[in-house]
């Protein structure tokens, strides 16, 4: 019965509803070597970069990184910092700004990371299985392709009812999901500007969910539009401009110049195995910026304010 919370709690009830707002420094208690970490957002938008930089700063090791379905350079940065053992992601890159993540490509080609080869259908099927507490879910996408040969976790089987061949996709189970959203209240009610991509599913699949937000708002503001509440975070981190250098819907656009710095550093490494540029990048934007505000200062206020969606 130790599984029963009533036995765990001392019986002394807290007098008030608890805030789940997290201090940046407390991120350490949520993250450790070897974890399986899901990263929210999509492509060049809404990645939880405060948390990602924190991981890079700590040089956590052997992470399994579950990037978003169209994974961004958030994944690339973690690979650059040497934190990643395995990537579960149907794509890693920044579209026109980098057709593929340079660190991802180099590390994959050199066998320095394991790539769990999948398409978005297989990826979402695995997360769905975790959310439903099922050992697997079936998927048709991949039948007749090289996926089962490349990724033996994707196992062809005969469906027990109609005898069709499908792929069995094992549950993809993040220990923690790291997301970035528009706002939340102190109790973890998270609302997006925009669609939230697949962040709801990452939350459903993950054991815990830490959400960075542009704004902390009152509980009353949440109750004003309850239909907009997308998920209930285990912990909330106030992080204005927290998706930088990526965009945050309704707040700011991606910082292309900054992204170019990262991509160029990646290409130097990919082409010449020259880690100079990325070490300089990490030194300046990660190691020398222990707090998020330090990072924002390093980027510079003028740059940040220039990222506006409509005057930019």
């Amino acid at each position: 019965m130790g599984d029963h919370p009533a036995d765990v709690l001392s019986g002394a009830a807290p007098a008030e509803r608890r805030s789940v707002v997290l201090d940046e420094r407390a991120l350490d208690s949520w993250l450790r070597d070897g974890m399986s970490i899901a990263l929210g957002g999509l492509a060049t938008a809404c990645h939880a970069m405060v948390a990602v930089r924190h991981i890079a700063r700590r040089r956590l090791k052997d992470l399994t990184v579950i990037g978003s379905a169209v994974g961004g350079l958030d994944v690339d940065l973690l690979i650059a910092a040497g934190c990643v053992r395995k990537v579960i992601c149907p794509y890693v890159g920044a579209e026109a700004l980098a057709s593929i993540g340079p660190f991802y490509r180099a590390a994959a080609e050199r066998g320095e990371i394991e790539v769990w080869e999948c398409d978005e259908g297989q990826y979402y099927t695995g997360l769905q299985a975790a959310a439903q507490m099922l050992p697997f879910l079936p998927c048709r996408g991949g039948v007749g392709t090289s996926f089962p040969a490349i990724n033996p976790d994707l196992k062809p089987f005969t469906d027990p009812l109609r005898g069709e061949t499908l792929l069995a996709v094992p549950a993809i189970e993040p220990d923690v999901a790291l997301l970035h959203a528009a706002h939340a209240d102190a109790y973890g009610n998270v609302q997006f500007v925009g669609t939230g991509y697949a962040d709801r599913l990452l939350w459903r699949a993950a054991t815990r969910t830490v959400v960075q937000v542009e704004r902390l708002v009152s509980n009353e503001e949440i109750r004003r539009f309850p239909e907009r509440t997308a998920l209930l975070a285990t912990a909330v981190l106030r992080a204005p401009y927290g998706a930088h250098p990526f965009s945050s819907p309704g707040f700011y656009l991606e910082d292309r110049a900054h992204i170019a710095e990262l991509v160029d550093a990646g290409r130097a490494f990919a082409r010449r195995r020259d880690r100079g540029p990325i070490e300089a990048y990490l030194a300046r934007y990660v190691d020398a910026a222990p707090a998020h505000v330090d990072y924002l200062e390093a980027v510079g206020l003028r740059r940040l304010l220039a990222l506006d969606e409509y005057t930019g």
């Binding site: 599984d3 029963h4 009533a6 765990v8 009830a13 807290p14 507490m133 009610n189 939350w203 509440t229």
Partner: protein, 262 residues
């Protein structure tokens, strides 16, 4: 100062004390005792509980009086919402709500807490009594950390040697390992609450055992009105009554209409 607690108030209090802060409760409609238990736990010691009401999630810790709604879909119950949820999500996405406090009603319950909402009879195509159906009990009870059996009638036709059909697994054929053997991740039934008593499950065999009798109920009556061999300890305590504080929350904030005192 306060009048003596009714049996239903005693039942609600027993359940409320077993619900921990931070857990998820559904404020039901059809069963006043369960509704009261959920709200009493929330208002008495559960400021961080997730309160599910009219397909919304909310927190009512500072709501002075919580109006009773008789129907599940009464939209007026959504006025306090912090978030909405879709019915299919709540049933399929079990991982994010393993700490949901779940209750299972039944037409029949056997000695190992297996229960039946399907119906009575031998031929499922021609039931002698068509039951209401399993609603979400089968799936939820397979996954949540624990659940409670709750019945409004304690009689040999409810507590039977063997259910005509099983819609929700308790401890299957018995034994602490029974659920693991079936691959059910949920913790299984913790208590069975009836108008006469609270029953639990003996640790090794997982057979139903008399845990406490409600005030004024003789042990022999419980034994007599249970259709299977009930484990009865040498001494059976009385189900504890609510404190003045609990009773005052019940009567002022949760159940001013007095549904529990009818």
């Amino acid at each position: 100062m306060t009048a003596a607690a009714s049996v239903k108030e005693v039942m609600a209090t027993f359940i409320a004390r077993d619900i921990a802060d931070g857990e998820e409760v559904f404020v039901g409609t059809n069963l006043p005792v369960i509704r009261a238990a959920a709200l009493l736990a929330h208002l008495h010691h559960g400021p961080n509980m997730r309160v599910m009401l009219a397909h919304t999630r909310t927190n009512l810790y500072h709501t002075p009086v919580i109006e009773h709604f008789q129907l599940l879909a009464d939209w007026r119950g959504a006025r306090w919402a912090e978030g909405y949820f879709n019915d299919n999500e709540i049933v399929l996405y079990q991982k994010s709500r393993r700490d949901s406090v779940f209750f299972v009603g039944a037409l029949q319950i056997d000695a190992f807490g297996n229960s039946n909402l399907i119906g009575l009879g031998t031929d499922p195509r021609r039931l002698t009594l068509r039951g209401p159906g399993a609603i979400a009990t089968t799936t939820n009870a397979s996954h949540v950390r624990r659940f409670y059996l709750y019945v409004n009638e304690h009689s040999p036709r409810v507590f039977v040697d063997s259910c005509d059909f099983i819609s929700t697994v308790g401890w299957a054929g018995g034994g602490a390992d029974a659920r693991r053997a079936l691959g059910l991740p949920g913790g299984g039934p913790r208590y069975c609450i009836t108008p006469l008593a609270v029953l639990d499950f003996e640790e090794r065999s997982k057979r139903m055992r008399l845990r406490s009798v409600h005030p004024g109920v003789p042990v022999d009556e419980v034994r007599a009105r249970t259709g299977f061999e009930l484990i009865v300890p040498a001494t059976v305590p009385e189900t504890p009554s609510p404190t003045d504080e609990e009773l005052s929350i019940l009567r002022r904030r949760v159940d001013p209409q007095g549904l529990l005192r009818e």
